[in-house]
Point group: C2
Amino acid sequence: MEREQGALILRRLGLKATPRRLEVMQCLVGERMYLSADEVWNRIRVRLGSIGLPTVYRILDELAEARVITRIFSADRKQYFFMCANQEHHHHFVCDSCRRVVDFAQCGLEGLAGEIASSTGGRVLSHILQVNGLCAECSRTESEVAR
Amino acid sequence: MEREQGALILRRLGLKATPRRLEVMQCLVGERMYLSADEVWNRIRVRLGSIGLPTVYRILDELAEARVITRIFSADRKQYFFMCANQEHHHHFVCDSCRRVVDFAQCGLEGLAGEIASSTGGRVLSHILQVNGLCAECSRTESEVAR
DNA sequence: ATATTTGCAAAAGGTTTGCAAGACG
DNA sequence: CGTCTTGCAAACCTTTTGCAAATAT
């Protein structure tokens, strides 16, 4: 992501285009994997000289709120963040080994929502769907190791 | 769940059938909704006289590990627990209002796994699927209020 | 100029741990 | 009786907050 493009997104959100925000965005775009707040912090700290962890949290919250980035569910109860190019309804295939994320659109839950509604009488409002596994590369590496 | 039945489950897991464990299990069976550790604690505290919150956590961990209970994902980063009668592969329809849980089996993800594997070259190992909304009762109540 | 943003230190809050005392089988 | 459990207090660790100083527009 160009610096200018990041600034544009921020202004559209009514946020000032500060170096800290631009670095956070650039960091998340640069990675093809999800990161925790402190991982983002450690990466951009080097380049910014100094930035507080609370600031990173504040920025990540703003961006997640604005749906510029996505929170990833994790069993360790930590928050992870990922920049998705895709703004349509979609889900993530998350690699358990390298944490890379691949989007996929098909979720087939529209039909399921109808089934649940008619069988239970309730109303479906949202859903969480995340597929975990090994990406192509890690899958290959693992089978080589096994040999 | 009968007390004796709970004891049987515990013994099969190689765990001693202590009053604390039995109460935790009975509490979760009695509720048709998911509970946080401290909610379980507050409920069984009354009957046990005294029990520490760490003990509740330890018991919930053991039971979740053994898949006797399920952890529920929540946006507030707290852990919630629910006893599922159903041991087959299934998912939960969670009511956002009263937190009641309804199982459903259909998830249609077998096909999706294949699609992801063939399009990305990766391997699907697991998935998280949870549907949120309003159960029949809460859905009804809400529309009454709206009137 | 002024509202927004940030750093710092400290608090919050859920969860975990260490260890001695107690209970189950 | 020996091993598994539990209570208690304290630690942990991620995330949040308060407020004064700095910065973007």
